[in-house]
Symmetry: C2
Subunit: 431 residues, 2 copies
């Protein structure tokens, strides 16, 4: 039986998971694909750490070069994360004629153009199933399962930490801080959860989903990113009253000949399937022109789940290697009907607005007047319970409005003397 050698760079949590699976499922995989997959070398800076998998000491190395320069290694798996030196390792591996598997969404999001173009020049493949939704086969599904489709939009809950926090706030009616504390206790959030809570991790994954569906790597700076740190328990409660759930969504949408690419908390109708995706689970809702509306759901993180995606990439590469297949373009047909990215000010959405106003006659008239001036029409207004402070939340839902008009109006409203906090606005989708 033919043997294909894998070199693993990064022997952390997911790396251990991948080795475990390749050990335990060695004969199952060999039966399925007719190839023996051998982990020839594993590289990590720290080799003395106790790990939950046992490997032959001979295969452990401290320098990535020992893998990159090993002519017997066909597939390099990069699992160290971060930009440098992961990028250098992957580039060097490609240049040495190796195929690459990675779960490094930050790296691909920031340097995808360079990495994919070097891979293409060298006739090598970079696979990255575990970089979005861990073991959910979303990359393969978009690339291969929906190969003939054009896409209208993708809505993703792609960050388990922030989804856990929002779910917790909704279920326990608690504050963001207390939900984050709970997430940390359960191991669902890192010590510093900024990347998750502020939507950066979701944006990295969105870059990859956009690449798969529309064929282009969008620069992070061109994506509108808003996290969930300003979401309050009361917004979640009002959302429910109005028939919505709040979810942090990564959205790419084709609107006319432009692409909207954005990450932000979103009001979703409670009956929308994405609204039922709770806790650390991820789900990617894909609107395609042939296969219709699809959703892919599963755990968005976890050692074995992510490693399952990594191993499926390795298996696919063994088939490519056996066949001499190079698939550079399968995920990179740039949709030429797209002329550019829509600027945030031009986005059109319905909005939920919460304005904390002094409860006295004439305030609502002033607010309404400003909204009217900006051409914003209101679908519903509710003045919530009077608080001790005499400041009451005025909750509104707008009809479709351009973002720049909404921003203009809220800025002006925020300056009124009777307005006591910066007005909150959350976009409404799926209605």
């Amino acid at each position: 039986m033919r043997k294909i050698n894998v070199g693993l760079i990064g022997f952390g949590n997911i790396g251990c998971g991948a080795v475990k699976i390749l050990q335990q499922r060695k004969s199952l995989l060999a039966q399925k694909i007719g190839i023996e997959i051998a982990v020839k070398k594993i590289c990590d800076k720290e080799l003395t750490l106790k790990r939950d998998v046992t490997v032959n000491k001979d295969c452990l190395v401290r320098e990535a070069d020992e893998i990159i320069n090993d002519p017997q290694i066909d597939i390099v798996v990069e699992l160290i994360g971060g930009i440098n030196p992961a990028k250098e390792f992957i580039l060097a591996a490609l240049k040495k004629g190796k195929h690459v598997v990675t779960a490094n969404k930050a790296l691909l999001a920031e340097h995808g153009n360079e990495l994919f173009s070097v891979a293409s020049e060298r006739g090598k493949n970079i696979y990255f199933e575990a970089s979005v939704g861990a073991g959910i086969p979303i990359i393969k599904s978009i690339k291969e399962g929906l190969v003939a489709n054009k896409f209208n939009s993708i809505f993703g809950i792609v960050n388990g930490t922030s989804n856990y926090v929002l779910t917790q706030m909704s279920r326990e009616n608690c504050s963001l801080a207390s939900a984050i504390k709970s997430a940390k206790l359960k191991g669902f959030a890192e010590k510093d959860p900024t990347l998750d809570i502020e939507g950066i991790d979701s944006a990295h994954k969105l870059v990859l989903l956009t690449y798969l569906a529309f064929g282009r790597i969008v620069a992070l700076k061109d994506i509108f990113i808003e996290g969930i740190s300003h979401i309050s328990a009361s917004d979640i409660a009002y959302a429910k009253d109005l028939g919505y759930e709040i979810k942090l969504l990564a959205i790419v949408k084709k609107e006319g000949n432009e692409l909207e690419v954005r990450v932000h908390p979103t009001f979703l109708p409670s009956e929308h399937l994405l609204s039922s995706v709770d806790g650390v689970f991820n789900a990617i809702y894909v609107s395609s022109d042939l296969a219709g509306e699809l959703m892919f759901y599963g755990p968005g993180a976890g050692q074995l789940s992510a490693a399952s995606g990594v191993v499926s990439d390795i298996v696919d590469l063994t088939q490519d290697i056996k066949a001499g297949l190079f698939r550079p373009t399968l995920n990179s047909i740039d949709d030429s009907s797209i002329k550019g990215l829509r600027q945030i000010g031009e986005f059109e959405n319905k909005y939920y607005i919460r304005i904390m106003a002094v409860d006295k006659p004439g305030v609502l008239a002033k607010i309404s007047g400003i909204l009217a001036k900006f051409g914003i029409s209101i679908a519903s207004v509710t003045q919530k319970e009077r608080l001790k402070s005499q400041v009451v939340p005025v909750v509104m839902v707008t009809h479709e409005v351009k973002e720049k008009n909404l921003r203009g109006a809220l800025k002006m409203i925020g300056k009124l003397s009777d307005i006591k906090e910066k007005p909150v606005a959350i976009r409404i989708e799926g209605v």
Copy 2:
């Protein structure tokens, strides 16, 4: 650019869809895979019918043999449905060295062993993505995306017609007959919807899901199949009261060293994601040991949706052909830890039971006595509103009980003089 020729047998609804996609996406697909896919011949008994796609008249033929015996055709797509002559056509095509794409779940369910073994002998692949969940890439996901996983269970809503009927009954609080009528009006049910309503179509798909997850073709006669024709509006209403939805599920579950394979209406907790799958949509909920709990959701039928799956199979075959890849075993590793199928009497479930009893003292005591005699313990009992007829529904939820015990008890209860209808029992899952 290399050209690969496809021959299509069956120019009906899905066939037209496939041709439409292959025409309209010809250059997109060629860019992606570096191969031109050409529909060289299309066979149908009826060639004068007006169709919603225009093809060159020269490629239309009346006899499948003209495709099967054409040495320039590499891929035969069978879309006529039914057992004969579809089976003969596929066997002949394989023997002539062609790869096969089919959406024919009934044929694969009933003759899969023979067809897959002939394919294997000849080194040819049979792909069947559109046979379960139309364009949802569920087959590819289980086979390739989850290639390293072992499976605990699969729960599928795989028949859009029956799911529409149950959704309609639940939303409109209407009878089965009226929901079926509505389904027919909307084109969601055939004139004779027996195969859908009685669970046969779901069972066909379940055979294929079981094959993919556990490596064996289970005979239809060994599957417990119960449809939804006995479900009443009141059962759906009581389900809601108890916090459940009723769904027709196709279930395969590994229990110890046995496999449970069954199709039946099921009480699912309302908060289970499958409970939110409404109307003609399908969803397959997969429990895997590495990637965890996954769900794949989308339209379960429709011309372009099914054709999207067919075309993805054709594209995969072009890659196999280019590479000389034969993948016989990818979906046929028989799990040797499975010793056999569990007999229906040995299934263990919680149950919802509805007994129509005359409302007089002592009846509940008789019922409870019989249940106790069969070792069935009750989690809750509700005696519903008194009806004019003095017959009231007694609604019970049991703890886990063996099916044979439950059947024995219900048979005895049904014979009581105070019981006016055959007792209804519905299995509860996912709790």
